[in-house]
Subunit: 237 residues, 2 copies
């Protein structure tokens, strides 16, 4: 059954936005009285389509109980990348339960976004996150935030990691074995060519720990998927 | 330094094929006496370009020692999928050290390949595997095999798994904790909609164990990346 997200509840009615309504109407070709899943406030309801042509409303008929993977909130700090790579990261890490994605302004990012283009990009990224949340039947939608400087994220709390290629004893496997009591894991993924030494030092100053992901040489867009897979594996029930 | 693979050695000379030569010439724009990495028989050599215009030869100048992730040989059995999804699986699982990829003929595969198109597809898939091997600096290239029936792979040996959505006690985390002494792991990834019950039963008859990957709902093409990430994590040094 197709899933949608709603932000507005009124008694037993949930409202959907016009994009969803377009999807119901023109893609799914659903009719009055057909059932859909609608998530409101992290609860999934089985809803019946009513008022098909006028206001965008569905009526709750039942609650759907679901067992979801229980992982800490993962915040991905990623460089600005080309469109196809950003899209892949957002789609796949959403499937794998990411909590939040924050693009970080880094010196070696190839992509420099002009301010006037940012809001259009943010809309696109959040739409991808919403669609992937519907497809993977999540109970919430991860937020893709505005690009930030390292300084702007210095106060974030949790287990804070930098995926680093500088030679280190500390690998992710050993680290997670000894630190799985955090509510939030924040992980920095560097651009092609890595963080500059100054940037890595700044993150370390703000409490981030460099960690090795093993000896594979991965493309940048593979790293978030790799990381999210491992977090899911560690917390698999 | 750019990496290539060679299949022919003659004393201190390695031969490259014409595609590589085109890449060296027109993409990398390298010249006589420039250095490249060339892998021959799972050893990486630093080589100097000679005879730039005539025969395709490079001369060995040094051996490059490398530490690679040491994982069991992973054989992925995947459904035939649309081009973009096949390409993504092959590229990403190559980065993550896959040993072999075998497309399996399954009843719920959307894609039915005509025999005359297979050899063109196989060429394409193996070219993607080669390029990803070069980029991720592997010492070998995984093989993408001809599509096979379930019956044709029944004699394969190793730890044999089916990613299954049928309700089960057995999850991948618990299973790998108790079975990490295999040289080869063979894993079946079903199509959208899963294996049919008959297909799953046939795999089980041939010694495959159904295993849950947790509670996330992933797209088919995400599953191999998820699986390869976990194997790397389990064997991380």
């Amino acid at each position: 059954m197709q899933r949608y997200f709603s932000k507005f509840r009124e008694n037993d009615y949930l409202k959907l936005d016009s994009d969803d309504w377009h999807h119901i109407n023109n893609v799914m070709r659903l009719n009055e009285n057909d059932l859909i899943e609608v998530v409101y406030d992290q609860v999934c309801y089985i809803c019946k389509i009513v008022n098909y042509d006028s206001e965008l409303k569905v009526v709750i008929t039942d609650i759907k109980e679901e067992s979801r993977q229980n992982i800490p909130e993962v915040v991905l700090l990623i460089p600005l990348l080309k469109e196809a790579k950003m899209d892949l990261i957002i789609q796949k890490s959403t499937e794998l339960g990411v909590g939040k994605i924050i693009p970080i302004k880094l010196s070696r990012s190839i992509i420099k976004l002009e301010d006037k283009k940012i809001s259009k990009k943010i809309d696109r990224w959040n739409r991808i996150a919403k669609e992937a949340s519907e497809q993977s039947k999540r109970l919430n939608i991860p937020v893709v935030d505005l690009p930030k400087t390292i300084d702007e994220i210095k106060n974030i709390s949790g287990l804070k990691l930098i995926c680093s290629t500088r030679s280190l004893d500390n690998n992710l496997h050993n680290l997670l074995q000894t630190s799985n009591t955090y509510d939030r894991i924040v992980v920095v993924i560097g651009p092609e060519g890595g963080l500059s030494n100054e940037e890595e030092d700044l993150f370390i100053k703000f409490g981030f720990k460099p960690v090795r992901l093993g000896n594979n040489i991965m493309r940048v867009e593979t790293v978030p998927i790799f990381f999210m897979s491992i977090i899911n594996y560690e917390y698999m029930e």
